[in-house]
């Protein structure tokens, strides 16, 4: 059993309205040291499988097909074996 920890972030260069709003809110609270903010998504998937390479391929496919929109988002992920049966 593997845990996939997936990060999905807006592509650099695209306006991230949420990030802008969060940045302004931080500045209003006095955190003038914050230059930029991007807001993305973090997901965890529990994936059954024996071969790490197989699981990695599957997760990569899931990320490109559904979990992220390649036009406006980038993804990255980590796989961790959590052992044992489900």
């Amino acid at each position: 059993m593997y845990k996939a920890m997936i990060r999905i972030m807006p592509k650099k260069g695209i306006l991230d309205p949420q990030g802008v709003a969060v940045g302004k809110a931080l500045a209003a609270l006095g955190y003038s040291s914050v230059n930029e903010v991007w807001v993305g998504k973090y997901m965890e998937l529990l994936v059954a499988g024996d071969e790490p390479a197989q699981v990695e391929l599957q997760v990569r496919e899931m990320c490109s097909r559904l979990l992220s929109n390649p036009v406006i988002e980038d993804f990255s992920f980590e796989l961790v074996e959590i052992g044992g049966r489900p």
């Binding site: 306006l15 309205p17 979990l67 036009v71």
Partner: protein
Amino acid sequence: MKFGVVVFPGSNCDADCYHVIQRVLAEPVEYIWHQQDSLSGCDCIILPGGFSYGDYLRTGAIARFSPVMEAVAAHARQGGLVIGICNGFQILLEAGLLPGAMLRNRDLKFHCQASWLRVERTDTPFTNRYQQGQIVNIPIAHGDGNYYADAETLAELEANRQVVFRYATAAGAVDATANPNGSVANIAGIVNRAGNVLGMMPHPERCAEAILGSEDGRLLFTSLLRWGKGGMSDGR
């Protein structure tokens, strides 16, 4: 011209589109359940507005994988007519049937309001009843209407005259004050390269009857009827 209105789990404006076609225009129309793999012989497919799958993950991201979308894509490839309204536009973008992507409104708020559009192109199945440059009143209601295309895609859209509607002021100015959501180049609606697939954020079905305040949306449907009568070929 037989219309088909696709119903996804979470579609809300399907009944509205159905009403306009059946009751206002008195034309044949059917609902197409998202699990169907055929389009029941419909000529013009409408992907209606709403919140398919609750807009979860990303708007339109899950609906684009519904079984019916394969048939819709095939229909589009063969030159069949497809209209995506609001959530329907978002689904067409996620499905790659139209270029670009949809972001959250720049001010992060949902906007339900009247909006004015400039008709940029009238030689399409969808806009042949409008006048070139006409300013029409078609309302919007969305939280994710901020259309995005990268510089290269945008250049192509403009070069190929794929922009059909742009946000304008009531007086006709296409500028930042007219833009309710931050969409690039004030784009409110586009067609694909071949001109048979339209995606638009505003809701034409909400302004096809005088009692609702504007009838400018009706012309989109009558354009389709005129196109249908003129034969199904690509007669531009």
